[in-house]
Subunit: 132 residues, 2 copies
DNA sequence: CGGGATCCTTATCGATACTG
DNA sequence: CAGTATCGATAAGGATCCCG
């Protein structure tokens, strides 16, 4: 076994570097602060703009609007306008969006279930830095 | 049925709004452009700094360094220094990191498997905007 | 090789004001 | 209600140089 740097994985199989580029692009597309959160919330059912905004709480209407536009463009949510006074616009997950919701929810649940472990790790890291 | 705004979900079960705040914080912590990507790659095994950088490709060393620092602080990766000339620093997932890797990988696989559907949705969205 | 420090350029975000 | 438009602050990100 060589101690060279490089990838040192089985030669001929340099991981799935091939899939790395498109995945990283997709990952980058959804890795903004709000997308995952909005998808996760809409997983609970359709919501109108301000209801959604209230549910998230900290988001500005600007960011919510642009996040929703991106999600609509990517085919994750539908935007249904009911022309009334006052107007009503409802956002809901599409089939694709509901599919996407599953891994998102898995991730969210994991972070929730393991937040204690992470906090512990952070505390340990802090003391480690202090003691040495 | 009232046309009021509000949440209009089954009263008494107003979703898991309780869990929304901590989850959104955790989600926000990992939702930067690189964290998920680095975790996913380190899932394939330990790597040294520049090997990791090469594998990601587009990242600057600054962002990689800071991303790795965050990951170490959160207890997802270990940083092992071997004092040689030239020095060697290897990054590897911890138990927590490997745990975390699973939902991340699920998300990555999903995006990869469904990239065609997303592209189709984007194309459909474009024509829809053009025709109307 | 593995970074830290610095500078500089963008992208992100929020607050405010305005429209249909 | 559901946004768009504009502006200013701030953070993210990249390029370069430098050091152990």
């Amino acid at each position: 076994m060589s101690q060279q740097e490089s990838t040192f994985r089985k030669p001929g199989n340099q991981r799935d570097t091939t899939a790395c580029e498109p995945i990283s692009r997709m990952l980058a597309r959804i890795s903004d602060k709000w997308t995952l959160l909005v998808v996760r919330i809409l997983g609970g059912g359709p919501l109108r703009f301000n209801a959604l905004k209230r549910e998230i709480g900290e988001i500005s209407q600007k960011m919510l609007a642009s996040t929703l536009r991106d999600l609509e463009e990517n085919g994750f949510v539908t935007r249904t306008v009911t022309p009334l006074t006052p107007p009503q616009v409802e956002y809901a997950l599409t089939d694709l969006g509901r599919d996407f919701w599953e891994p998102v929810q898995a991730l969210a649940k994991w972070t929730h279930a393991n937040s204690a472990r992470i906090d512990a790790a952070r505390a340990a890291y802090a003391t480690r830095r202090a003691t040495r």
